[in-house]
C-alpha cells in the first residue's frame, strides 16, 4: 500500500512547545492512586479462601488425622492459594518477550536458551545498558537535549566501509532524530557478534564494556545463518534489507547488448591485471580490444572504450568497486589479499585504468548518454535510475548472463551490485526514535539519489517490498 503521501504529512512539534508542556507536567505531583472498589465477587473469593485456610489449619492441627486425609483437605487450600491469591502463573511468564523492530528474517535458533544463559543475560543486560551510551552528538544536529526533557540514549550505528557513504547520506537526510544516533565506520574492532550477543560472565561483560557496543550495523554483506546462530537468542537479532547499490553498463542499441563476464570487465578496465606469464605478478593493462579480454566476444576489433564518472569522485569510486571487485575476486590469490593485505587488494581491485580506455565524462550518465548513441561501440556507466531514463536509446550489458534488475540484485546473480542490510536488536535500540527514522531514510529517499553524487548508484527495493517493509517496521 503506497501511503507515502500520507506519511509525509507528519511534522515534529515545535521544541519550545514541548519544553513548556514538559515543564508544566513535571511540576505536577504524582497523585495517589484512587482506591479500587472492593468488588462483591472479590469479597466472596477472599471469604472462601480464608474459610478453606481455617479448616485446613484446624484439621492439620488435630492429632490422629491420617496423612492422606490431611493432604486431601489441604489440597483445595493450596490450589486456591496458588491460583487466586498469587494469580495464575504461566510457564513462560519469566521469558523475555521482545517486540521485533521490523520485518525480518530470523535464522532458526536451536531452541530456548538454557536458564543459566537467560539469567546471566538478564543480569548482564543492565551492565550492558550503558555500554553504548555516548555523549550525544545532538548539538551538531540542532537537536541538543532540552532542559526538562530526557532524550533517549544516543545509539551507536556502525557501518562497513562499503556501506558508510550510503549510511552517512541516510543519516544526513533523516526527517527527524538524527541527534539520537552516532555513526561510525567499521574498523574491525567491533565485530557483529558483539552486537548480537550478551556476555554470560562478569569477566566477559567487563571486556565487552571496554569498547562501545553498536545498537545497529549497516553492512553490504548478508550475515550467514551460521553466524546468526551464534547470537544470544533473547536478543532476537533482526535483519532488514535496505536496498541495493548497482550500476549498469550500456551502449547504443545499434549493435545490441554487449554480453560480458565479471572477469572480462576487470581485464578490460583495471589499471593493472595479473600477468599470465608470471604467476602472482601484475602488469599494466595491455588490452585494447574486447576480443583480447574475451575471445568469445564478437566484433574482435571493437576498441575498449568506456565512459563513466571521474575515478576520484564518489560515483567513480563506487563504479570502480562494483565493476572491478567481482572480477578481481575471481583470481583466488588476489581475493586472498582482502584480509592479508587490504591496501594492496584495494589498489589492485579498485583502480581504474587511466590510459584512455576508461574516459571520465561527468558525474552522471546524463552527460554521455547522447555521446554513446553517436559512438555505438563505446560503453557507458550508469546508475539504475539514470539508465531507466535512457533505456529507449541504449541497451544494458548482461554480466555473467544476468540482466540488471532488482531481482538479479536481490539474488546476487548480477555481479555489479550489492545489497545493504541493517542488523539490530530491539534491546539495544530501545526507546530511541532515531533508528526507525534512520531505516526509513535509508530506504525511502529515492529522490535524492538521482541527483546527489553521494547517493548515486542506490537502487531502492521495489515499491511493494518497500511498502511491506515500512508497514511492518511502523507496526
Amino acid at each position: 500500500m503506497n501511503d507515502d503521501f500520507l506519511q509525509r504529512l507528519r511534522k515534529p512539534p515545535p521544541p519550545e512547545f514541548l519544553d513548556k508542556l514538559k515543564a508544566r507536567l513535571d511540576r505536577q505531583p504524582l497523585p495517589p492512586p484512587q482506591p479500587r472498589r472492593f468488588a462483591f465477587s472479590r469479597g466472596m473469593v477472599l471469604g472462601f479462601v480464608l474459610g478453606v485456610a481455617a479448616i485446613a489449619i484446624a484439621v492439620t492441627s488435630i492429632p490422629g488425622v491420617s496423612g492422606s486425609l490431611r493432604a486431601l483437605l489441604q489440597a483445595p487450600g493450596r490450589f486456591v492459594a496458588r491460583h487466586w491469591l498469587y494469580g495464575p502463573r504461566t510457564q513462560d511468564s519469566n521469558q523475555h518477550k521482545v517486540v521485533p523492530l521490523g520485518p525480518v528474517w530470523l535464522p532458526e535458533h536451536p531452541g530456548r536458551p538454557p536458564d543459566r544463559q537467560v539469567a546471566a543475560a538478564s543480569a548482564s543486560f543492565k551492565a550492558q545498558a550503558g555500554d553504548h551510551s555516548h555523549e550525544t552528538n545532538a548539538a551538531a544536529n540542532g537537536t541538543a537535549p532540552r532542559p526538562g526533557i530526557q532524550p533517549p540514549t544516543t545509539l551507536l550505528i556502525v557501518a562497513s566501509q562499503t556501506a558508510l557513504t550510503h549510511a552517512t547520506y541516510a543519516l544526513e537526510h533523516m526527517d527527524c532524530c538524527s541527534g539520537y544516533l552516532k555513526l561510525e565506520p567499521d574498523t574491525g574492532a567491533v565485530p557483529f557478534e558483539k552486537m548480537c550477543t550478551l556476555p554470560t560472565t562478569a569477566a566477559a561483560a567487563a571486556i565487552a564494556n571496554a569498547t562501545p557496543t553498536p545498537a545497529a550495523m549497516e553492512l553490504s554483506r548478508r550475515i550467514p545463518p551460521e553466524e546468526m546462530r551464534n547470537c544470544t537468542p533473547i536478543l532476537k537479532t533482526v535483519e532488514l534489507k535496505l536496498g541495493y547499490q548497482a550500476i549498469v553498463l550500456g551502449r547504443a542499441k545499434l549493435y545490441g547488448p554487449l554480453r560480458l563476464t565479471r572477469r572480462s570487465v576487470f581485464l578490460a578496465l583495471a589499471k593493472r591485471i595479473p600477468d599470465p606469464n608470471h604467476s602472482g605478478a601484475l602488469m599494466d593493462n595491455p588490452n585494447t580490444t574486447w576480443s583480447q579480454v574475451d575471445p568469445a566476444i564478437p566484433y574482435e576489433s571493437d576498441r575498449i572504450q568506456v565512459f563513466g564518472p571521474p575515478p576520484g569522485s564518489v560515483p567513480g569510486k563506487l563504479a570502480a568497486q562494483l565493476l572491478l571487485e567481482a572480477g578481481c575476486n575471481s583470481y583466488p590469490w588476489i581475493a586472498a589479499l582482502h584480509d592479508r593485505d587490504p591496501d594492496r587488494y584495494r589498489e589492485i581491485c579498485t583502480t581504474l585504468r587511466d590510459d584512455g580506455a576508461y574516459t571520465p565524462a561527468g558525474v552522471s550518465g546524463w552527460a554521455y548518454a547522447d555521446e554513446l548513441v553517436g559512438n555505438p561501440t563505446a560503453l557507458g556507466v550508469f546508475s539504475t535510475d539514470e539508465f531507466a531514463a535512457v533505456k529507449d536509446k541504449l541497451s544494458a550489458s548482461p554480466l555473467d548472463g544476468a540482466e540488471p534488475s532488482p531481482a538479479s540484485f536481490a539474488s546476487g546473480g548480477y555481479p555489479a551490485s550489492r545489497t545493504f542490510y541493517l542488523y539490530t536488536t530491539p534491546y539495544r535500540a530501545r526507546n530511541n526514535p532515531g533508528l526507525v527514522a534512520f531505516v526509513r531514510s535509508n530506504m525511502e529517499q529515492t529522490n535524492f539519489y538521482s541527483n546527489d553524487p553521494n547517493g548515486w548508484g542506490f537502487t531502492p527495493l521495489d515499491p511493494a517490498e518497500r511498502a511491506a517493509a515500512m508497514k511492518d517496521l511502523t507496526n
Binding site: M1, N2, D3, F5, L6, Q7, R8, L9, R10, K11, P12, P13, P14, F17, L18, L21, K22, R24, L25, Q28, L30, P31, P32, P33, Q34, N94, Q95, H96, K97, V98, V99, L101, G102, S122, F125, I149, Q150, P151, P152, I234, P426, Y427, A429, R430, N431, N432, P433, V436, L473, T474, N475
Partner: protein, 192 residues
Amino acid sequence: MVVQQAVPGRPMDRLSTDELEWDALYADLAPRVYNYFRFRISRYRMGSEADVEELTSRTFERAWRARGNYRHDIAGFSTWLFKIAQNVGLDYHSQSRERGHLPLDAAIDVAVDGTPELHAELGSDLARLATLTASLPERERELIALKYGASLNNRMIAGLTGLSESNVGTLLHRLVRTLRAQWHEQASARDE
C-alpha cells in the same frame, strides 16, 4: 515508533505506573499526539496550530493527573493516552460546533478572500488532505488520524475504535487507495 523495552521481559507500554519511564514516553508520544490532532482538527478551522498545541497539552495534563489510575493490565499506556486524546478531541469538536466554527468545506469557499496565511494553510498538503477527507464519515477520518497522525498500528486502532483488526486493515487499505487516486488527480489538475 515501535514500543521498546525498559525492563527485560516486558514492553515499556505495558509496565505499571511505577516502572514507566515517563521522559521516554513523553518523547515518544508527544509528537504522535500532536500529529494526531493535526490530522484530526485541521479541517475545522484555520489557524489551528494553536489549537493543536492546546489539545495536545490538554491530553497530557489530563493523563498526567490521572496516571495513578492507569491500569497496565487492561491496556498499553499509549492506548490509554490516545483514548484520552480521543475524548479531548470530541470535547473540542462539540465546543467548536457550539462556537460556530466553520467546517473546512465552508472555509474553502471563503478562502478566496482570506489572508495570505489562510491561503498558505489551504495550499498546504494537510489542507489538501482535509478537502479530500471532508466528505468521509467521521469514523474514516478518525482511522486516518490514528494511523498516519498517531502512527498507531492496526491492533491499537482496533482497540480504540471498537473495530476488528482485519476490518481496520481493510478500511484503511480502501481509504488510502481512494485518497491516493484523488490526491494525484488533484495534483495533476493543479499542474494543468
